[in-house]
């Protein structure tokens, strides 16, 4: 709570400055003060610090949270370990290649869960209770404020587990020579995946403005990202191919994990080089589309008696 208050004060002082700048017309400094954007990085760092302070206030809870989110992933890993006892390959991904795929999933999901998930959940609640008014009043981009207000530090536990898993699996893949390109591009494509997922998430959360409440947001999120957790090669056949195309070109969730994972586990052949290029296009497209949806939804926002 303390942390929130500090953030509030900082924001208020930013508001105050903006107000003051209006009161001194014709001043030489006016332009310079007026054009002073809020420092987005500064605000974000404050949010991040406040969240850490709050997390550290309930340290035991933080540790349990970290452990439980890690154990969730370990169970997932256990499932695939079981499956690989019965088969050597799943759609040409052998065990260690698939472990790279899983660690990529963990990287992307832990980042999304740490930075965006708690905020998207809160957005639906704020819409329902009218708390969004306060976000709209702040002299800062609303989407930025709404998307990054909280950081769930405990979700980053999986990020480190993913690092370990990656370091364990990559050397065990047969016939893989790591190149500099892979090392440079992999984190970039992981970040692009995060942005794609974020776009879908914020667009979904914005729909709660229309629906009044969107409790199934989390479910929907789980189900839709569920498709991204598997190598795209498994979507084959009469139903699979159209499904793969929809989830690549319309809602590009298959790009999220598949492109970085493939880049690391089985370097892109020319056949898949277009995918790397497409990944970039998909990221830019999703971010722009989600911003459009968000602003569109905001226009329909009616405050709930605050």
């Amino acid at each position: 709570m303390e942390g929130e208050r500090i953030a509030e004060c900082r924001l208020r002082s930013a508001e105050l400055e903006a107000a003051i700048s209006f009161r001194i017309p014709k001043s030489k400094f006016r332009i310079c003060i007026m054009s002073r954007h809020p420092s987005y990085l500064g605000v974000f760092l404050t949010f991040a610090r406040n969240s850490l302070v709050r997390d550290m206030t309930f340290r035991a809870n933080f540790i349990i949270d970290t452990i439980s989110s890690i154990s969730w992933m370990i169970m997932n890993l256990g499932f695939y370990a079981l499956v690989y006892r019965k088969t050597s390959h799943i759609a040409d991904w052998d065990k260690y290649q698939f472990f790279v795929f899983i660690s990529t999933t963990m990287f992307v999901n832990s980042l999304v869960q740490a930075f965006f998930m708690p905020n998207a959940e809160e957005l639906s609640e704020q819409v329902r209770t009218g708390g969004l008014d306060f976000a709209l009043l702040k002299p800062i981009d609303t989407q930025f404020l709404v998307s990054l207000r909280k950081v769930a530090w405990s979700s980053l536990g999986n990020f480190f587990v993913a690092l370990i898993l990656l370091a364990y699996s990559v050397p065990r893949i047969e016939g893989l020579d790591l190149t500099v390109w892979q090392v440079v591009l992999y984190p970039l494509y992981v970040l692009m995946g995060v942005f794609i997922l974020y776009s879908i998430m914020i667009a979904l959360a914005a729909t709660s403005i229309w629906l009044g409440r969107n409790q199934s947001l989390y479910d929907f999120w789980f189900y839709i990202t569920n498709f991204s957790r598997y190598p795209m090669e498994i979507y084959e056949g009469t139903w699979g191919t159209p499904l793969r195309q929809i989830f690549t070109f319309v809602i590009p969730i298959l790009v999220v994990i598949n492109v970085p994972a493939r880049l690391m586990a089985k370097p892109l052949s020319t056949e898949y080089a277009w995918m790397a290029a497409f990944g970039l296009v998909a990221t830019v497209g999703s971010v722009l589309a989600s911003r459009w949806v968000f602003n569109r939804a905001l226009k329909s926002y009616r405050s709930a008696s605050s």
């Binding site: 349990i64 079981l82 040409d92 629906l211 479910d219 498994i234």
Partner: protein
């Protein structure tokens, strides 16, 4: 007796209506539930294609898909979303006080509310369920014999009660601990992995399978599905039903006991 029945009937009606308020949200949620099955079909098709064998631990590809569909049906009975966390919130925020002063029994109220929610859910979900099962009819080997089907129905109804009382007991823990969300998460993990929701439990090493059979978890999803598919028969089936019933009774007692103990511990302040 009549007044009492009327009270319960009123509660039931209110809960049904409450459930129907956010219809759009609810319908969307129901529809989404079927999406994971699609990926499971593709995943297991790929696994069976790569493994090059027709069966894995006695399961064909069709069996696995049918299994997943049936676990979804079983979870529609046994899963109690928000029950334990709602109870925990009521205890933490003091809302629980109303059950202490009104002549309404907390557990019966919750059971009634949950039944109302489930009834509404089945009314809305029957359509999608029937459609999906019809579309996937080729994965099943027809209807099981009548006695197996009866056992299946019994195991489903028991799984509803087991799921409810287990979850409610978890909620009662918050009489002792203020913050139980992490505990509930761990509980959910166990259910997800060991109820057989993720994979047929036969895929586990034999030792673990035999241990898990004695825990309450498999009876929330694995057991009813395995009964329907004829994977458990005869004495094993009866033994399974007995274990399931025993756990259900155990949790009914534990839930009531922990509620009474919790009431004695509880102190509420202010209005």
């Amino acid at each position: 007796m009549f007044a009492r029945a009327e009270t319960w009937w009123t509660i039931f009606k209110i809960c049904v209506e409450e459930r129907l308020v956010y219809r759009g949200d609810f319908a969307l949620g129901t529809l989404m539930r079927f999406l994971p099955i699609v990926t499971q079909i593709f995943l297991w098709t790929a696994v069976f294609a790569s493994a090059g064998t027709a069966t894995i631990q006695g399961f064909t590809r069709e069996d696995v898909v049918a299994y997943y569909l049936l676990t979804m049906l079983a979870r529609a009975f046994s899963s109690m979303p928000g029950l334990a966390s709602g109870l925990a919130r009521q205890i933490r925020e003091g809302e629980i006080k109303k059950f202490l002063i009104q002549p309404i029994d907390l557990i019966s109220y919750l059971l009634l509310a949950r039944t109302a929610h489930k009834v509404v859910y089945y009314l809305i979900a029957t359509g999608p369920f029937a459609l999906v099962f019809y579309l996937c009819r080729d994965y099943f080997h027809g209807w099981p014999p009548i006695e197996v089907f009866l056992a299946f129905v019994v195991s489903l109804l028991l799984s509803f009660l087991l799921g409810f009382y287990m979850e409610a007991t978890m909620g009662m823990i918050s009489f002792w601990f203020l913050e139980v969300s992490s505990l509930l998460f761990v509980h959910m993990l166990f259910i997800f992995f060991f109820s057989g929701h993720m994979f047929p439990l036969e895929f586990l090493p034999d030792f673990w399978k035999s241990v898990i059979d004695y825990t309450p978890f498999p009876y929330l999803a694995y057991f009813p599905s395995a009964v329907f598919l004829g994977k458990v028969q005869g004495a094993v089936l009866v033994k399974g039903l007995v274990i399931e019933a025993a756990w259900t009774v155990g949790f009914i007692v534990l839930c009531r006991f922990s509620m009474q103990a919790g009431y004695r511990r509880y102190s509420g302040y202010g209005g």
